[in-house]
């Protein structure tokens, strides 16, 4: 399928081939689903909204609800104010959410629609809330859109109302699966610490089957809780690309100190997350978590010889790739190519620092595409590919074992329920990676080398 990709690398200036990113609004839509009883609203043409819902539906395999301003030519000429006002009226009349979270699209950004001024003159029913974020897709990526909407939650909702800070932590989980969000909550809970997670898509996009369609399932961060984040003692932003902006906004607006950590993928990042919690709240790490950590280390030692020296290509969203890279380094693997489609020099800096510490060198790139990744692999082959579903073409063309992680995963199921964060998530990653490598070894083994015990 990708046989036509040439090995020789030439500089390109005319856009992307086989992108490793998508556009901001889908990230904003996903973030907004992490508010309880919230309907994301796409201010633009109906096509964009339809694509974003379809893509999220394919990844989560759950109904994804969002409304659109349904732009027509007239709206483009005269501005989208009238459409947005009608939309607000209709959304509350028909679907009756508690919150409507508006994001823009390329189109409305280009014609210069000023959402706050439209909101100022719109009729919003009593007790209902409308928030917004600007999400032009000609900058950043879907991760940027997630960050922008999360920041919008703070801008519109967070308030400092108490004199002293409450003994509670705000956790911004970043663009991860609901299974990851559940795991982060479980870890925090077992530390005995009160927390507010936002956005929180667990219970929304992984809702149980009840025989009834719930437009607004039970999950999601409650508005009163997001308000209350202004009173917390600390905000932990997991992942600098998806979460830091909102944390800084909280610091600015409500004086809640912000701390950015890596997405807790792997043993080191999970340790750091728990240590940060322990330091701020003077609580102890419970035996339950110590035991899990011990199990993970046990597993890592049991299997390390499968991993050592194996060459890996990793791609996907920056926060997740940073976590994965750190983790595979801790397994003794060698990241050879590390790429994200999201622009941002911080990504390259952070990965390069890790590699330097490990005494390694690799191809590292932000704002890259999968065409380039494949070319890298052609020039310097790898033993394993880690990334989202779109890696399957490269995996097939270059015949490399492939482990699916990140967003989107469109051709496998259950992944969104299962964490890759925390000690348990790390165990799962070890299992997925070693299964892929060993299945390949079995497949390729000559009869005489085919072994029962591996």
């Amino acid at each position: 399928m990708l046989e036509h990709t040439p090995k020789e690398i030439k500089e390109r200036k005319g856009g992307m081939i086989n992108p490793a990113k998508t556009c901001q609004p889908i990230g904003a839509m996903y973030a907004a689903l992490g508010i309880h009883k919230c309907l994301p609203h796409s201010h633009g043409s109906q096509g964009c909204c339809s694509y974003h819902r379809m893509h999220l539906t394919r990844h989560f395999r759950d109904p994804i609800m969002a409304s659109t301003s349904s732009f027509t030519e007239g709206a483009c000429v005269f501005g989208g104010g009238a459409n947005l006002k009608t939309a607000i009226k209709n959304v509350f009349a028909i679907y009756d959410p508690d919150v409507m979270a508006i994001h823009t699209t390329c189109l409305t950004e280009t014609i210069g629609d000023d959402i706050p001024s439209y909101l100022g003159s719109a009729e919003i029913p009593d007790g209902k809330i409308v928030i917004h974020a600007n999400t032009p897709s000609y900058a950043g990526s879907h991760v940027t859109g997630f960050a922008n909407m999360t920041k919008g939650m703070v801008t519109y909702l967070a308030e400092a109302t108490t004199d002293t800070n409450k003994e509670q932590v705000n956790i911004i989980p970043g663009f991860v699966n609901p299974g990851d969000m559940r795991e982060i909550k479980r870890l925090t809970k077992s530390m005995g610490i009160n927390f507010i997670m936002f956005p929180d898509t667990s219970g929304v996009v992984d809702s149980p089957m009840t025989g009834k369609f719930e437009m607004f399932p039970r999950g999601g961060a409650k508005v009163e809780d997001i308000r209350d984040t202004g009173n917390s003692k600390l905000t932990i932003a997991l992942g600098s690309f998806a979460s830091t902006d909102a944390a800084i906004q909280l610091e600015r607006k409500c004086k809640v100190p912000a701390k950015t950590l890596k997405t807790p993928i792997g043993i080191k990042a999970t340790d750091e997350f728990l240590m940060a919690l322990r330091a701020a709240f003077i609580s102890e790490i419970p035996y339950e978590l110590e035991e899990e950590r011990g199990q993970l280390v046990d597993i890592m030692t049991d299997t390390h010889y499968h991993f050592h020296g194996q060459r890996v290509a990793v791609f996907g969203d920056p926060d997740v790739v940073i976590g994965l890279t750190e983790f595979i380094l801790s397994l003794g693997m060698v990241p050879v190519h590390v790429l994200t489609g999201t622009p941002g020099a911080a990504f390259e800096k952070e990965i390069k620092a890790m590699l330097l510490e490990a005494g390694l060198k690799a191809n590292v790139k932000a704002n890259g595409d999968l065409f380039e990744l494949q070319q890298w692999i052609k020039n310097e082959p790898v033993d394993l590919l880690l990334g989202n579903t779109y890696g399957k073409y490269i995996s097939r063309a270059e015949d490399i074992p492939f482990v699916r992680v990140g967003f989107p995963v469109l051709d496998r199921s259950v992944h969104s329920y299962m964490p890759i964060v925390g000690y348990q998530g790390a165990m799962r990653l070890v299992e997925m990676i070693s299964n892929a490598l060993l299945d390949r070894a079995d497949r390729d083994a000559a009869d005489e080398d085919f072994e029962l015990v591996m």
Binding site: H4, I17, Q46, C48, M54, D62, T72, C106
Partner: protein, 446 residues
């Protein structure tokens, strides 16, 4: 939420219940602002029609998303080039929005043509390009001259209409490719097959039938088509049109320009397949063709009828809801469900036309709900009210059906087996059976 109170007044006109009222359904309108519409855009319509042109380089001129979401999402199969399965985007950035994207587009075409040597490039315009006013025509024309290949702009800015407008934009691009002049030579017994995108290899099945009838398949629009065959399309002596929603316009234009007559056909279900094959044979008229056609029909139906009847026994009396893109498919599905003993109790389309809705209304039983551009709460409401056991729809409807405890069939991009022709009819029955009669539904009530 009380779904009963849902209808914004505008929506009421788009829903009718057969037998209950005399009014006409209002369709082909724009979706109301603020609705959770299931509809797609012009670009989407154009892209799905043109995407199966396998050796074309499909370049999306716009910001990254429009290209990302359409990367290889339609399961059309190719017997040759795989170029169409890669995603190419100009990935417009802020400075391009301000200063215009023409230079970047020209550069992209140059780089890509040098790298992939395609015989043909389609350049898709997206909403934003319509607004910043890039002159796609001029850029494509210059590039075509530079590289001495066809570079065809597809005018598919999303906000100028819905998916149907996109079909039209795609057809216009195809017409440009074929050129304005009728060809001097015409091949007797040669057919173009319009409106099959070769999902799961469907076009191959039908082409096979046509060949067995003694006909030559000139080109399929657009499943598994390529530049070389497409430009020869004007030589055929008949066009048959399967998915009328997207290809009716092209068939009309080809009749105007090249004098090729066309027939509307449907290969969904045993009855429609048989009727369509006979109609085609009738058109050519020779007794040889007719005889071969009857033989084909006999062998195939003898093979599949017992299989289908086997499933029918298990399915008799179940009820289906249908929500698909075009009206033509909807009509065929009603008949096909009858073949396996299932009644359609709710039916809707995204882009059906007035005349199609009239046919639907004539076909369905009293009490069946007919609706245009439904939103999820309407689908839910009527599925529950009508007690549907099964929903036929696209990607976004699947989890909705499952949440209601209803079975589901994808009759769109995500279909996994061919659903056309005789073997498609068996696949359809088997798919319906395996989802409707799966044991998983038993665990719904704890």
């Amino acid at each position: 939420m009380d779904a009963g109170s849902l209808a914004v007044n505008e929506r009421e006109k788009s829903i009718i219940v057969k037998g209950k009222q005399k009014k006409q359904l209002v369709c082909d309108t724009d979706s109301a602002a603020g609705c959770v519409s299931q509809r797609a855009c012009v670009y989407c319509g154009a892209r799905v029609v043109l995407n199966p042109v396998t050796d074309a380089l499909h370049l999306v001129h716009g910001p990254i998303g429009c290209a990302s979401y359409t990367w290889d999402i339609r399961g059309s199969l190719s017997s040759g080039s795989e170029l169409y399965r890669s995603s190419f985007s100009t990935d417009l950035q802020e400075e391009d929005i301000i200063f215009g994207g023409e230079k970047k587009l020209a550069r992209a075409i140059d780089e890509l043509v040098l790298k992939h040597h395609p015989p043909l490039v389609f350049v898709y315009s997206t909403c934003i390009v319509g607004v910043i006013g890039d002159d796609l025509e001029a850029v494509c024309k210059a590039a075509a001259q530079r590289h001495n290949i066809q570079v065809i702009p597809v005018q598919s800015s999303g906000f100028i209409g819905n998916k149907s407008a996109g079909y039209r934009a795609a057809c216009n691009a195809l017409l440009r490719l074929m050129g304005p002049e009728p060809t001097p030579t015409r091949n007797l017994n040669s057919i173009n097959y319009l409106g099959d995108f070769n999902l799961a290899g469907e076009a191959w099945i039908i082409s096979n039938y046509l060949r067995q009838m003694g006909l030559e398949v000139n080109v399929t629009f657009t499943g598994d088509s390529r530049y070389e065959t497409l430009i020869k399309a004007p030589r055929a002596s008949l066009n048959i049109v399967q998915c009328a929603g997207s290809m009716h316009y092209l068939a009309q234009k080809m009749r105007e320009l090249y004098g090729i007559p066309y027939l509307n056909v449907s290969f969904l279900g045993v009855l429609d397949t048989t009727a369509s094959l006979r109609m085609i044979a009738e058109h050519f008229g020779g007794s040889g063709i007719k005889q071969k056609t009857e033989e084909l029909i006999k062998t195939e139906t003898d093979k599949v009828i017992p299989l289908i009847n086997g499933y029918r026994g298990n399915l008799q009396g179940r009820k289906a809801a249908v929500y698909v893109g075009g009206g033509f498919k909807a009509i065929s599905l009603i008949k096909q469900f009858r073949e396996i003993g299932i009644d359609v109790v709710m039916i809707g389309t995204q882009t059906g036309r007035q005349s199609e809705y009239e046919t639907i209304n004539d076909l369905v039983d009293e009490g069946t709900v007919v609706l245009d551009d439904a939103n999820p709460s309407e689908l839910e409401r009527f599925m529950v009210e009508k007690g549907a056991h099964l929903l036929v729809g696209g990607v976004k409807e699947r989890p909705l059906a499952y949440k209601l405890g209803a079975a589901f069939i994808d009759h769109n991009h995500d279909r996994k087996h061919p659903l056309s022709g005789y073997e498609g009819a068996v696949n359809f029955a088997r798919e319906v059976y395996s989802t409707v009669c799966s044991p998983v539904w038993k665990y719904l009530k704890a």
